[in-house]
């Protein structure tokens, strides 16, 4: 069934077609209902104008702290919630239109959540959980079960031992393998991994990261990898997008971003990484205080309240993401020579 709506194969290297997944001007505000503790009219600006593209075969990492909008972005991409504004295009086709139905799109883009237990039906064997999606999409039950068993084997769980088990009989790492197998059951092109390894113990996390790398090669997958863990993102991602309070702060190739980030917020995030060296302990926290509340975020650049380089322009105008070099964008007045910021790149000052 999915084959009927399949897009043409991606263009060969060098010829750039539309990106595999493109998000344009995504906005999602959550009004806070007035009630007993009502703050009538308050709005959580969870995602406030986010645009980015994901190319076939890459891993885009999304990092940021709580309230930055990374999980809302994930839910918007999956269409689990409807955006207030903005569009999502898959292989150039707008999602949820006659060109690409939501059902066909969802077969192409699948998600793995942080909580491996909550995302499985406790009353279904894991084999049935994996086979369920394909059956909904019109695959015969026997074929779906065969596919489930093949995938279980592929994610490192022997189907003879595991197929008939229930989620509570598995460890966290095993359950997350099941969730990955289930996400792959519809043969998607994109996997959206939202803190997918964050709840796992470190010794198990490495196994699952390795598995994800292998599966990506084997099935030609594209990943969107959301995490608060900068080390893990650095390991997984080819490009990284840093979000702050509902906006993109910086996006660029992983090593360029980790080695020479241009946004003061990214620099502070990276500066918060602990050294693992008892002789070089952190002596000063890069930032004071917590991230502000996404209800009524600061005017102008949302980071200006915590930024060491903030000037008048920063509280007056929102910096637009602008390209600083190929494939690299920074939303900071210091990266814009015409912004009027005294430290702006190439400014007369």
């Amino acid at each position: 069934m999915a084959a009927a709506t399949q897009s043409p194969p991606p263009p060969a290297d060098g010829i750039r077609g539309p990106p595999l997944l493109e998000v344009v001007g995504l906005v999602k505000h959550f009004p806070i209902k007035s009630g007993l503790f009502g703050r009538a009219g308050a709005i959580v600006r969870a995602v406030d104008g986010v645009s980015f593209a994901v190319e076939a075969g890459e891993t885009l990492g999304i990092v940021g702290e709580s309230g930055c909008g990374k999980s809302t972005t994930a839910r918007l991409i999956m269409n689990l919630i409807a955006p207030d504004r903005g569009t999502i295009r898959f292989s150039g086709k707008p999602v949820g239109t006659t060109a690409l139905s939501l059902k066909a799109y969802r077969a192409q883009v699948q998600m793995v959540f942080q909580d491996s237990y909550a995302s499985l039906n406790p009353r279904m064997t894991i084999e049935d959980s994996i086979a369920y999606g394909p059956m909904v999409h019109g695959i015969a039950a026997s074929d779906a079960v065969r596919r489930a068993r093949r995938l279980l084997d592929r994610v490192g769980l022997d189907p003879r031992r595991f197929a008939g088990r229930y989620p509570h009989e598995l460890s966290g790492g095993q359950r997350q393998r099941v969730n990955i197998a289930r996400a792959l059951a519809l043969e998607p092109k994109v996997l959206l991994l939202d803190e997918a390894v964050s709840a796992l113990d470190k010794s198990v996390e490495a196994q699952v990261l390795n598995l994800l790398l292998d599966l990506k090669d084997e099935f030609g997958l594209t990943y969107i990898f959301i995490s608060h863990d900068l080390e893990v993102v650095r390991f997984m991602a080819s490009r990284v997008m840093v979000m702050y309070l509902g906006l993109v702060a910086e996006i660029g190739p992983t090593e360029a971003l980790y080695a020479g980030s241009r946004h003061p917020y990214t620099q502070a995030l990276l500066g918060s990484l602990l050294s693992m060296d008892p002789d070089r302990r952190t002596e000063k926290a890069p930032l004071a205080g917590d991230p502000p509340n996404p209800i009524d975020p600061p005017a102008g650049c949302r980071f200006h309240t915590r930024c060491a380089f903030a000037e008048a322009v920063c509280s007056a105008r929102v910096p637009a993401p602008r390209p600083t070099r190929a494939g690299y964008e920074v939303a900071c007045h210091m990266a814009d020579q015409d912004s009027g910021h005294s430290r702006a790149e190439g400014s007369a000052a």
């Binding site: 709580s66 292998d214 608060h228 080390e231 992983t254 693992m276 917590d290 991230p291």
Partner: protein, 342 residues
């Protein structure tokens, strides 16, 4: 560590079994641990390793009916296991107090944080409410809460995560404890906030001369705060030593594995990580020998039949491993599997 002084906390042969479920769960098995005065020891381990159980045992927080405890715990020379009634209440708070991972759950949502702190102070000291309030204000300044007077009147839900954890620390310090028990106090915090809280705890520890047990699953956090690290696995301390010993010359295959399996510094981007195979054991069905044996690259028959005792490798560096003579080479000596099947 001041070897001359008696340690403020001495745990010996602590074995804790929970009997409330269908099968008894042996959460701790023969834990020996001392904490020197003014010392910070990190208990490092994964879920189920026994690190939080150890911490809670010190305050006797386990339900009496469904917990079987053997071994001894002495705090400042007092036998904790023998305490009853008022003496036990005094231990909790006045001698040792705890900072939890989730301040939102530890603080009472229906009282202001200021009221909770003054109440705690009045519980332990015979002073006036006004004096207690002044102390609370002083504590809020100590933990660097901006506009402290205003924040004392706030309810927990009105504070941000980092601010709540500062308030929790103020509450824990309000009874002037000698020992601070910190149970993953920065795990729920964002990275930029975690650093602030770690620096605050380090500063308070130095200023107040606190003795601290710091429970964490994150090695880098342990390195940041601790003098010594005790690595726990399946209810036992499998390796203990100074931070430098444990980080730079780890000798237990589990510690070695944990250190080399980290995606760290981008050195391995996109390549497969060395991984410890398998999963942590089920505490209700522990193997008879070393609990790490099923996942260990150096396993021998002996490892499966008998658990090794703690063996000293250097001053204060102990490891529980039959193969400790062969692990000096670190990750080169203990190859990690890249096997996918589990």
């Amino acid at each position: 560590m001041r070897p001359s002084a008696e340690p403020i906390l001495a745990i010996a042969g602590l074995t804790v079994t929970f009997t409330g479920g269908a099968k008894p769960v042996r959460a701790l098995d023969g834990v020996d641990l001392t904490l020197g005065r003014g010392e910070v020891v990190a208990l490092l381990g994964e879920s189920g390793s026994g690190k939080s159980v150890t911490l809670r045992s010190v305050l006797r927080l386990h339900p009496q009916k469904t917990t079987r405890i053997q071994g001894s715990i002495r705090v400042d020379g007092i036998d904790v296991m023998a305490l009853r009634g008022r003496a036990l209440t005094d231990l909790r708070g006045r001698t040792a107090s705890m900072v939890f991972q989730e301040p939102m759950l530890a603080l009472d949502p229906v009282y202001t944080v200021g009221r909770q702190i003054t109440e705690a102070i009045l519980q332990h000291e015979a002073i006036s409410t006004a004096e207690a309030h002044a102390r609370a204000l002083d504590l809020f300044e100590r933990v660097r809460i901006p506009s402290p007077a205003r924040r004392l009147a706030a309810y927990p839900h009105e504070m941000s995560g980092g601010m709540r954890q500062r308030a929790m620390i103020a509450l824990a310090l309000s009874s002037r404890p000698k020992i601070l028990l910190a149970d993953e106090p920065t795990t729920a915090l964002d990275a930029t906030v975690q650093v602030q809280i770690l620096l605050l705890l380090r500063e308070l520890q130095r200023e107040l001369g606190l003795s601290v047990i710091f429970v964490t699953h994150d090695i880098s956090v342990a390195v940041e705060v601790a003098d010594r690290i005790a690595v726990m696995y399946a209810g036992r301390i499998v390796e203990i030593g100074t931070v430098r010993d444990v980080i730079r010359a780890p000798r237990h295959p589990y510690t070695i594995g944990l250190l080399s399996t980290r995606a760290h510094g981008g050195r391995l981007t996109g390549k497969r990580l060395p991984a410890i195979p398998g999963s942590p054991p089920d505490l209700a069905n522990l193997p008879p020998g070393c609990a790490f044996a099923p996942r260990c690259a150096l396993v021998l028959d002996r490892c499966r039949s008998a658990a090794p005792d703690a063996e000293p490798l250097g001053p204060g560096h102990l490891v529980r491993c039959w193969r400790s003579a062969d692990t000096a080479g670190g990750s080169a000596a203990v190859p990690l599997s890249s096997e996918q099947r589990i």
